[in-house]
Symmetry: C2
Subunit: 284 residues, 2 copies
Amino acid sequence: MTDIDIIPESEEMQAYSDQLRADGKTIAFVPTMGYLHEGHLSLLREGRKRADSLVLSIFVNPTQFGPNEDLDAYPQDMDRDLELARKEGVDTVFTPIKESLYGREYQTYVSLEKLPMHLCGKSRPEHFRGVATIVTKLFNIVKPHIAIFGEKDFQQLAVIRQMTKDLNFDINIVGWPTIREPDGLAMSSRNTYLTPEQRPSALSLYKALQNAEKLVKTGEKNAEKIITITKESILSNPGTNIDYVEINDPETLDTVTSIKGPVLMALAVKVGKTRLIDNMVLKP
Amino acid sequence: MTDIDIIPESEEMQAYSDQLRADGKTIAFVPTMGYLHEGHLSLLREGRKRADSLVLSIFVNPTQFGPNEDLDAYPQDMDRDLELARKEGVDTVFTPIKESLYGREYQTYVSLEKLPMHLCGKSRPEHFRGVATIVTKLFNIVKPHIAIFGEKDFQQLAVIRQMTKDLNFDINIVGWPTIREPDGLAMSSRNTYLTPEQRPSALSLYKALQNAEKLVKTGEKNAEKIITITKESILSNPGTNIDYVEINDPETLDTVTSIKGPVLMALAVKVGKTRLIDNMVLKP
């Protein structure tokens, strides 16, 4: 276990990446908001395999939170994160402070016109603008060859793929499967908000996805029917409040009514005060 | 005079720049819409001095033109441009086609919240979004160390400086002074639209700026008064139609009422159907 470089300054990170590139090394990058869990670690392990140098960033990005969201309450534990990063063989951790990335005259944003109109973008109108902007900034600071994102945030991954293509970033975007708890709950830093009593309700998302998968596999083509069954099964659990249940095209995220090929089923459900998301690609 | 590389494909340009960087070479970049004049050539000469490799791009960017502007009529002469580029020692000319930079599902834009609210942005609301977007794309394709822009498009330069800082592009932005015809008319590809009869009216912009400079030098502090004198002197010429005459802070472009330090005086005037811009930093 070698030691890890912790770099808080953008200019130092850029100089470091320039040096790696000048030495002919490849760079894999995993951007996170910290409070690492098995999902993040699986991204780090994949990055470790795919490049000479592995960079992790930890930054709770304010521009992707709405005014009434959990920015101030977002869980943090830098010491634990660094310990986990060391164990996974991370070479460098980029840990900027808010003021260095968003200064006083800050005014530039990257936004997409279509993909954010679906799913989470409907109830979080500025969220994907914040995501596209911070990822653009981090790409310019870390200068990676490869960047790895979880499929759990499926819409985020779609936005980043499209943005990378549209803005001609010379970076290979890798999507990585969702990691689940033994009981099936998708790993998320926000799971820490759940009480033990809320756990069975939180599990209803994955169970509903598995049921929808079965329905599609056995020939059900009517998306509306599957959505209704899914909503009913989730709402039969106490304290659940559905934000959306949708069946969409996995690339454009446009609504699908009749299932002819692989479709994305995506859910956002509040369990108590905690908003959970999950998704699955269903194949007939 | 060595031969010149003409590269139409983004991926090839990126690979070329990667190779230069791997070889420890620096890259200077001059992005243009072609139809090169002495103003562009002065940028190329500066770029030639400042880096090992000099890249020129020629692309008439559709996203920076409004629906009723001169996109289709914009003057082009690729053969002449390449000949001039060769003479100035350009190493590489990047000449993408529209379809390769803006594909079918294209949907990502870079926009600024404050700087475009002034000057040309008022009458060309989408213009600077188009500029910031294409410059982001070109920076990611050409991967330069230095990029050089003319001060003639002062607001464009301010937008690009701010965007470069905000999005953490590791690129040195150089502004270069306006080049003028012997009679004082600021060089512009659009000057080709002017008839000989319109020339004296076109010259009224520079004359008005020189007069304002004298007023400020001799102690006039009242911006409104200088603006009124400037407008009157321009409108005394036939066929002139003022879009704006403003005195602003050179960095934020906010309106200045009382002149205490250097200010930007910026003009946009239609002479017949041709929209001309010019500017000068006035120092008390």
